[in-house]
Symmetry: D2
Subunit: 366 residues, 4 copies
């Protein structure tokens, strides 16, 4: 199970299972001199921890982060930063039943086939709990971006059929909505919709949108390491994400060239674009406009309804999955998507530093 390391220069190595001893991450390649503390990291983890609202699992997990290395006297030293969130309860009893069958929509079957067996407790490595490590690392990435004047903001764009009205969108409302949905009217409607589906023991999907402001021009490497390609990989690597768009995305496929092109123009001596259908990326590189991307999140596969599936004895069976599951993943996944975007941006911003000889010469001039 290689695959738990992300990044080319700013590298993130995650570990941990849902019901093991803990979840953790090592960040290798963080520059020295960044202010860093457990309290800061914790503010990001709090955005994804369970039990915040009635729309997430009532499981109590404190998700307290501890920094084990790489920070000295309040600043990063350049050495790997190891962070750990110990699991407080390891109730494997809740999950032993699922050891013998494959839950629909989950990775039980693919894990068993690939590895010969699996740590079935709470989904093991394929649990959404794995994203704790992504958020801890993402918090460090966001601190780097902030120090460069870049701000990444993710939020809920839609829940089931309820979508925000862009005329009422206000990014400052993100934290005011229990669903991280920054149109308060849409948010209230989505709450109603969710309550209804929870009563019906069903689950709901949605779309997360992310905006990046303050990007320098030219970040992203042509051909295979385009910025949008790397963002796509990072976002699609989050469990339950089934689609990715940049700018107008799938809508642009039915547009005409004249309408889809963004005209350049100078406004007060500053080069800008009249529109931003491209979502801030041209030729795989940032163009200075806001980067706008979206992730489609499928409904939670764990539902309390009776479902058909198979067991390891090769029998067709019916199952009722027990446990306290999120009726929707979207709100808790908002900070996860934001983290994946931040991790990718830092890596690509660093990779851009070798593009021009004159800048390298200036960097090293004595």
């Amino acid at each position: 199970m290689a695959g738990s390391i992300l990044g080319t220069i700013f590298k993130v190595s995650t570990w941990g299972e849902s019901h093991g001893k803990g979840i953790g991450v090592v960040v290798d390649g963080c520059p020295a001199g960044l202010n860093m503390s457990e309290e800061y990291i914790q503010t990001y983890l709090n955005r994804r921890k369970p039990g915040q609202t009635k729309y997430s699992t009532p499981r109590k997990e404190d998700d307290h982060v501890e920094i084990l290395s790489g920070v000295f006297e309040g600043r990063t030293t350049g050495a790997p930063i190891s962070m750990v969130v110990l699991n407080q309860t390891q109730r494997s009893s809740d999950y032993s039943e699922i050891a013998n069958y494959y839950r629909p929509g989950h990775a039980d079957y693919t894990f068993d086939t690939k590895y010969g067996f699996r740590d079935y407790r709470g989904g093991g490595r394929s649990s959404g709990r794995e994203t704790t490590a992504r958020v801890a690392a993402g918090a460090i990435a966001q601190a780097i971006l902030n120090s460069l004047g870049i701000k990444v903001s993710a939020y809920t764009r839609s829940i089931g059929p309820i979508t925000i009205n862009y005329e009422k969108l206000n990014l400052e409302n993100i934290m005011k909505s229990p669903l991280y949905m920054p149109d308060m009217e849409a948010s209230a409607n989505a709450e109603d919709f969710l309550m209804q589906k929870m009563k019906e023991s069903n689950s709901v999907g949605g779309v997360i949108e992310c905006v990046v402001k303050g990007m320098p021009v030219g970040i992203g490497e042509p051909v295979f390491e385009k910025l949008d390609a790397n963002l796509a990989k990072a976002v699609m690597s989050v469990g339950a994400v089934k689609g990715f768009e940049i700018g107008d995305g799938f809508k642009s496929a039915s547009m005409l060239g004249e309408d889809n092109n963004d005209a350049f123009h100078y406004e007060n001596s500053t080069l800008t674009k009249e529109t931003n259908h491209a979502g801030g990326i041209l030729g795989g590189m940032s163009d200075g406009s806001d980067i706008i991307l979206r992730a489609a999140i499928k409904p939670t596969p764990s539902i309390a309804r009776t479902q058909n599936t198979v067991n390891k004895a090769n029998e067709n069976i019916e199952v009722n999955i027990k446990g306290r599951h999120d009726p929707i993943i979207v709100p808790r996944a908002v900070v996860v998507i934001e983290s994946m975007v931040a991790l990718t941006l830092v890596d690509m911003i660093f990779q851009n530093m070798y593009s021009r000889l004159d800048k390298i010469q200036e960097f090293y001039k004595k």
Copy 2:
């Protein structure tokens, strides 16, 4: 401009500009013993070369491939396979005008900002001509997949507002449609639509779909190297792609859990799924069903209409882009998307070989 190397084990290193001496690729990590010839590679290149139909640029480019290394007596040796397609005409005169302004929807501005200057002839490295190298490498990947019983088929799903009817979809019609659109009725309608928009000097986008049959179960590495995440990156790295979906994609975001889950069942002792909303991937690993993915392609940015833009003297200007441009990229991009999928699958199929100790022991038993 790092970024022209793709892959972890099966590595592809591309080079070349639109109007330079040629386009080429080095494939490193191809196993020994694969039958290979220039004739075989050429069949793939012919699917993307210009001038095939009235819907593509009338430029004549033969795109003749030459293999320079890595093949001995008709078989790959395991050494790097270097392939080159020499450019037959290097008419830089056609393009000198664009040296001084930034075409809307193109990478001129981002290239100039990132590198300080650019090879402006025909778009240089950011030309669609770069994908020639991807297709040559992709042909090798497809040969490996075929030897393992895996078949990758891409085709046009929609052009502007015209979408195939899945009841009339027949993959055997892909090569019969001049638009690689395997519903002949939709294909004819799309031809009409295209002719109309060409008369209006406009351009059109569309959606490419790709189906993979015969995948083993368990390909893809959990967490960051999920199969769908790597497919997303590979597909999004193709110029003009603005969105990526797997399975039901964005549609799944508005579905309910009960409807989106694919029930497992045994049919004649074989484990299958009753539906395939997941598009053949569970937990980032192939589940044995067909893999289904889609790419949204924006309309060609080069149009013969007057457009607003800026020049390098910091002035707002109007431009009329000359030259013989494709009114739509989609049909020629079909084999490019297919190639990117094939390259990704080979790399992930190789990466899966280290998942289980018992299989490694069997591999090395004396």
Copy 3:
């Protein structure tokens, strides 16, 4: 401070400082199904822990390893294996004096220049204590190698001027010598030499040799990823190593071709070599003979004698480094070199698995 991740497929990510909260490592890419326990890892750590003999620092460090993830019911699951050794005492007071000057032969000056400041407590990240993580990961690599019939054995070849007599070399004596020097007579002489130099407050270097038995033929990738090149990097990455040799090494530079070539011959239908000047490697690949390599270790830079150096106030000063330092690194480094060799071999053995199409087809045949 990127650089703490090793490996292409079997990846090891280490973290921790000498006087921080602990030292740890995450192993990503370990195949599923390997028997694994803390007790097993501990046996390797015990070989490098301080205070084993009078020839190492009398500091008491228990170096107790804990496995936090990736092992379920006694077997590896394929998920990342996170291991941690908590530091029991964090006596930064011992080291505060060295914060203000640069110890000769240490990395204090280069760290300060590269990062702007450093965690000066006990050398921080550049402490030899960092190798704890290498040994923990190396133990897992050795378990994989053993399961494939491969055995890696490192030992002390020389200490100062005392070198083992190959006629008296017996690998079974490695663990019997307090210096891990498997010629008991040389070992006794080396003990005398060491005691003398310890009395003089000086320190001593030496050479570690490593033998690998049971290697399959053909491991190592031609050109840049040769097996010996990767072994060299892995071994040279250990602090204090100043030279690396394979087979006859530097001696071969003064040999004649006729004497240096190893003649092939068949012995009882088995292809072997009459000699092994090459050290088991031809063209960068294992040739089936024993792999033999050596590492030159410089004397411990921390000595209790007065030395000239500079401080951060740009003054020339004299210093007397206090603390309980090893008079020789060699014996404790034996298991570190062994670990680096094992980690490299596993990674290269995995990389070899996609060399031949027929073997890949066999792996995936249904």
Copy 4:
């Protein structure tokens, strides 16, 4: 046969066989704005081409390099630079005999075992001719280093038993000696020695030394990506290299700590070291002193004497290898070692650019 790609940021991808169509390399990650021409690259290739003196093979190979991409109007654009040296004669007839047996000291046996068969013409991919690509790429690396005030100089330190006298060493004599041995007296003696061994149909080894002047302090990443570790890998990846040393190397293993430590001191307000036993590297990072390293080269394995070996019919046989072989590899390998050092330095110099947040902020400040 993965393994033909070198580097993390500044990536070099080589291809080609001894008797195929040519040898080539793609350099990905070269910054834009570097002056570059075929004439410049050619000066480096001329230093390794055969037939320069009576001490190398009399084969005539012009080794004319052509640049196919990445250079526009005399400067690098940031795009991949593809270079090719076409083989002028492809006389496979000379080599057909060796198809059926394994030459001692060569990679024939390991290639056949790893890949199932081999391109036996002139050694195929394992021929020393492969290093042509390294030198072409190395020339670009040297241009980057020169633009930063860094100079890499390799030369012959010893040939068989003849070693330069450091009191007579003058780097300006490197190009004056037909053996690239910058002590003219030693060079003359080595010529005599070589002539004698050539008459005896034997071959000779030697040691190449390389000095780097002008390095910034702090290049190299701690732990696994130490500068000396990467240099070791790069140098050991050259065929026929059997050992690597930095600074005092193996000699330091028998030194005492007091003698091996280099005292820091300020001289005219500049921090220097009184000695340089460390060879310019402390803790895996450059310390500002000259970097000094050595490579041990084995004698050419192809000799005209009768040797014992085996054939593919599993028989013990005697062979007389025909052809025009170098009696010594060392002089032609000097520029190859220099190239590998230069390639490594560029990659590590780039990797160092994200060590400190303040420098990254300065780089991106608007």
